[in-house]
């Protein structure tokens, strides 16, 4: 029975076949001719879990642990997977308020409702333990562990530095860094980050839509084991560091103590300092801001970044240059002519040794003039240019005017002016010795960082050479050395001249009328040189020293900022105490120790006005 519409069956069949063809074509497009979806599938159904390695441990020079790691937990949330949550119970369990809950939750939702993000970061073991067994009740939440730095002793913050989450700029510089990594931000954490950070491990797991792990991917074929960071053996003497920090605790200034024979830094203090544990974990953010805005700048490492006029301690270096150039001899004497430059009352120095002991300003005015104007050229401008260039090359060899290659970041270079510098200021051939004579006594245009001053003490202690100061002796299980710190750096100045300097510095402490007698330690031949660096506010009290005189074990520079009194008053006795502590192991002069620990000579901050002082006056 054929009806008149039976041909329509064909139309219907054609439609069906067409739909089938369209579907198969679409399937081919999705499944065969596109890799896009396979990649997307991997991205969302597999989770690369980074296993963070333990960061390297840091020891002091005697093997005492300075930094280790502790486990903390990040509470993660996948907002979309949170359901049937008894919010009140949840808040009570993990100890947060309803408002905090809303805040954290909104933040997580803002990041993504589908992707896990931290709800609360860096929860301590103790906190986590309290509600660990309740966690299964809260759908959509899970924890991830991280490690945090712990500092058993709250010392050496400026040496150790701190770690923080990597930022955009750092990621750009080093593609190995990934979002969420912790990297060293300062101190040796930064310089040795590549050693400390270790190697991240990876675990590839399959996850479900709620971000729950549902098993290893391909039986762990893609997994790698993390490698812990290398151990660092620092040169710091924890006991000495702690002691020096104690002495500086209520002051502003810094201490750099090093071992002259190796360049190893025994203690590096910048005061005020802070407890490195403050910049760890959940409290870090607030603490960091507080420290950052503190008017006394505790985050600022004065020992490496503070550029101060060197003051009188510079005279030691000036004498060495002049002696080596032969423009004076060890027995050169100059009258203390206060019309040239101000001075305190003392007999005229008859030798370099006496001049150093008495810190005679006019003497070093003359010395510096002979260095700058050697008479090579008739034209005094040309002559001065020549002299300055020669002088500067000596200064550079003694570690001034350039950043010492210490293994800590952001070290400043100080300033030893060159001819271009003065040409820029005064114009070429418009300056001569008379323009720049302030440099002779460590004022004027010269600037040094305390580290360089400590290095100068080490140079004198070594009688003419040094090793680049550093804070890490070796690293790793096989005690790898860092070669550049084992290369002797020569100044090219004869050792016998340094003997004279050492004797002069010995007299400073031990001689009659020496300016640094407060650095005296019974039974130890301490050599030192006081300095009083003129400044905004009160002068800085400066003292460099080494001890004992023969075969020196320690060289140091101590700065006390805006102290009422000169180098001999504050920096010298503190140096003495540190030397005693290091060489004797214990300070016997408890009364002295107590006094200098308690007194704070530093002018109160903020320094509102420049303290007016006639230039070129008393100087010791």
């Amino acid at each position: 029975m054929v009806d008149k519409y039976s041909d329509r069956a064909r139309v219907i069949k054609v439609i069906f076949i067409a739909v089938g063809v369209i579907f198969v074509a679409r399937l081919a497009m999705l499944q065969i001719f596109s890799d896009k979806y396979r990649a997307m599938a991997e991205r969302q159904s597999l989770r690369n879990i980074t296993i963070y390695p333990a960061r390297g441990l840091v020891y002091d020079r005697h093997g005492e642990l300075l930094v280790y790691n502790d486990v903390v937990y990040d509470l993660m949330v996948v907002p979309r997977s949170v359901h049937d949550l008894d919010t009140a119970y949840f808040c009570r369990s993990i100890g947060i308020s309803r408002e905090e809950f809303e805040m954290y939750m909104n933040r997580a939702r803002g990041y993504s409702p589908y992707v896990a993000s931290p709800f609360m970061k860096q929860i301590t073991k103790e906190d986590y333990a309290r509600w660990q067994n309740l966690l299964y009740k809260f759908d959509g939440f899970y924890v991830q562990n991280r490690t945090l730095r712990v500092y058993p002793k709250p010392i050496a913050a400026h040496v150790l530095g701190y770690v923080g989450e990597v930022d955009e700029a750092e990621m750009e510089k080093n593609p190995a860094y990934q979002m969420g990594d912790y990297v060293g931000k300062s101190g040796i954490e930064k310089t040795y980050d590549s050693l400390l950070c270790g190697k991240k491990g990876r675990r590839v797991v399959k996850v479900d839509v709620h971000s729950r792990e549902i098993g290893p991917y391909e039986n762990g074929a893609h997994d790698t084991v993390p490698v812990a960071g290398e151990k660092l053996y620092s040169t710091i003497d924890a006991g000495l560091q702690e002691y020096a920090e104690r002495l500086m605790a209520n002051k502003r200034g810094c201490v750099v103590a090093l071992e002259p024979s190796t360049g190893e830094i025994l203690a590096l203090v910048s005061a005020p300092s802070y407890d490195p544990n403050l910049l760890v974990g959940r409290v870090r953010g607030t603490n960091y801001l507080e420290l950052l805005h503190d008017i006394s700048k505790p985050l600022y490492n004065r020992a490496l970044q503070g550029q101060y006029p060197p003051g009188s301690i510079f005279k030691v270096a000036q004498a060495m240059i002049a002696l080596d150039l032969g423009v004076i001899n060890p027995n050169s004497g100059f009258v203390c002519d206060k019309s040239l430059v101000g001075c305190h009352n003392h007999p005229s120095a008859r030798s370099v040794q006496e001049a150093i002991k008495m810190s005679c300003n006019p003497y070093f005015y003359q010395v510096y003039r002979r260095v700058i104007q050697q008479g090579k050229y008739k034209n005094i401008y040309k002559d001065s240019q020549y002299g300055l260039t020669v002088w500067r090359s000596y200064m550079l060899r003694m570690g001034f005017g350039r950043a010492l290659d210490i293994d800590l970041p952001n070290v400043k270079s100080g300033r030893i002016p060159d001819t271009a510098y003065y040409n820029r200021w005064y114009g070429k051939d418009h300056w001569a010795f008379s323009t720049i004579y302030s440099n002779s006594i460590g004022q004027g245009e010269v600037e040094v960082v305390p580290l360089q001053m400590a290095n100068l003490a080490a140079i004198v202690a070594n009688r003419g050479y040094y090793y680049i100061p550093h804070v890490v002796r070796f690293y790793g299980d096989d005690s790898t050395r860092i070669e550049k710190y084992y290369e002797r750096q020569e100044t090219g100045i004869e050792p016998e001249f340094f003997d004279i300097a050492a004797k002069g510095m010995y007299d400073v402490v031990h001689g009659a009328g020496g300016t640094g007698h407060r650095a005296d330690v019974p039974g130890i031949a301490v050599c030192g040189k006081t300095g009083t660096a003129e400044n905004y506010g009160n002068d800085h009290s400066v003292f460099i020293s080494f001890a004992p005189m023969e075969d020196p074990k320690i060289a140091l520079a101590v700065y006390v900022e805006n102290a009422q009194g000169g180098g001999g008053t504050w920096a010298a006795p503190i140096s003495g105490l540190i030397i005693e502590k290091y060489l004797k192991g214990e300070v016997q002069r408890k009364d002295v120790e107590k006094m200098y620990e308690e007194i704070n000579p530093c002018q109160k901050l903020p320094l509102t006005k420049r303290v007016k002082k006639p230039k070129k006056t008393r100087r010791r």
Partner: protein, 428 residues
């Protein structure tokens, strides 16, 4: 007469006359479907196939019941269905009304009746009942279906259950009632209905994507092209008709915004926007389709292997054992598996068209085409949606998706037709 027309008694080896091809395709789909439901809800704790706590275990029971229904249907006197068509129709209309009153909200629609251990979805059976009633009406000797009165009654039979289903907020199932256009078309509904529908869809999409005036320009160009390039002889009538078409199109284009914004519900608007690529919210409304494309696309040619899907195993695709079951096929079976499934369906549809065409009674043919129409619209919307070709409309894939009501209803629907087919030789 004797000997020329052979009557075969229904009780004598009638199973030999069942269309085994259709039954085999049906069985293949059901088995294939169950395997994928097992894969979709597979988890370590529910490996046992008869685990009643899991969906694959329960589906096994439904399959058992469906087999029983199939058997009963095949060994029932076929005239029962044609004789009781209106009663069945009335019964399910009543059930839909009851559902409206007593049903509780499930899946955003009030389409379930809770019968204790299981829930019944009368709308699934309403399609079957409507098919029967329509076929009965169309097959009545005194009815001219292509008359005005015939049309009105036909549409009434379709629209009453459709309206009741719509009242249950089950838009998807309501759309399925459009399936009856197919048998009507076969029985003589003007071919323009298909053309109009096609043009309407195209204009709707264009109006949403493009500027209204550009769409009007396109329509005008098409009309002019028709008039001056296509037609060789232009009568006055052809001018008037073309002008009417143009005006109607314009009216339609300008009503699109109103329909889109005022008639459609927000989630429907969003789903259409996602399909047209106007919004790309992979984490919100576009999530389902995006995930389903990822699951299917990541399957590649050979698929990831049985139970080895990473997207479907990890619950990324919602509704994956019901409306989005095709994702599991796509991910684990790859192109091979999913293309096979598409081919199976097309084969079943073509086979059913063939069966329908060989029916001698209008009732059987009409019913057959109703079955074809219903299966086709489910197949088209479900797979089209999963592949991102059709907006998300939640209706199951027949015989394949998890769900007792739909499996039983589709089985009944299909096997009643298979039974009718065995009696095609009988003169009525």
């Amino acid at each position: 007469m004797k000997g020329k027309i052979k009557y075969k008694r229904p009780d004598s080896a009638s199973h030999l006359r069942f269309d085994w091809v259709t039954i085999a395709l049906y069985a293949a789909l059901v088995v294939f479907g169950w395997v994928n439901i097992y894969a979709a809800c597979y988890s370590e704790g529910h490996k046992f196939v008869l685990d009643l706590a899991s969906q694959h275990g329960r589906q096994l029971i439904w399959i058992g019941l469906a087999t029983l229904v199939a058997f009963i249907t095949l060994y029932t006197e076929p005239r029962i269905f044609s004789n009781t068509a209106y009663i069945i129709y009335a019964f399910f209309l009543g059930l839909l009304l009851v559902t409206l009153v007593v049903a509780r909200a499930v899946n955003g629609g009030n389409s379930w009746i809770d019968l204790g251990p299981f829930k019944l979805q009368p709308s699934e059976f309403a399609k079957f009942a409507t098919a029967l009633a329509l076929a009965k009406y169309a097959g009545s000797l005194d009815v001219k279906i292509n008359s005005v009165k015939g049309r009105l009654i036909t549409f009434a039979i379709i629209l009453v259950p459709a309206a009741l289903v719509l009242l249950q907020h089950d838009t998807g199932s309501t759309l399925v009632f459009a399936a009856f256009v197919l048998p009507l078309f076969r029985e003589g509904l003007t071919k323009y209905v298909l053309i109009f529908a096609g043009v309407a869809v195209v204009l709707f999409v264009l109006a949403l994507v493009l500027n209204k005036y550009i769409v009007m320009g396109i329509v005008l160009a098409a009309c002019l092209a028709y008039l001056f390039l296509w037609l060789n002889r232009r009568s006055r009538r052809s001018y008037i008709n073309t002008a009417a078409v143009f005006l109607l199109s314009c009216l339609f284009v300008f009503s699109v915004d109103f329909v889109f914004n005022k008639v459609l519900e927000p989630h429907q608007r969003e789903r259409i926007d996602v399909l047209l690529g106007k919004t790309q919210d992979f984490k919100g409304v576009g999530y389902n389709v995006h995930q389903s494309k990822i699951a299917i696309g990541s399957g590649g040619f050979f698929g990831k292997g049985f139970l080895k899907g990473t997207i479907t195993k990890a619950d990324f695709v919602p509704e994956q054992e019901t409306d989005f079951i095709f994702c599991t096929v796509g991910e684990e079976g790859g192109f091979l598996g999913s293309a096979t499934l598409v081919i199976l369906y097309v084969a079943l549809l073509l086979r059913l068209v063939k069966l329908a065409e060989r029916q001698r009674s209008t009732f059987a043919r009409f019913y057959g085409y109703s079955v074809v129409g219903i299966l086709f619209i489910h197949f088209f919307i479900n797979i089209g949606m999963v592949l991102g070709l059709v907006p998300v409309i939640g209706i199951p894939l027949p015989f394949f998706s998890y769900g007792g009501s739909s499996l039983l209803a589709f089985t009944l629907l299909l096997f009643v037709f298979i039974k009718q087919d065995t009696y095609r030789a009988q003169l009525l």
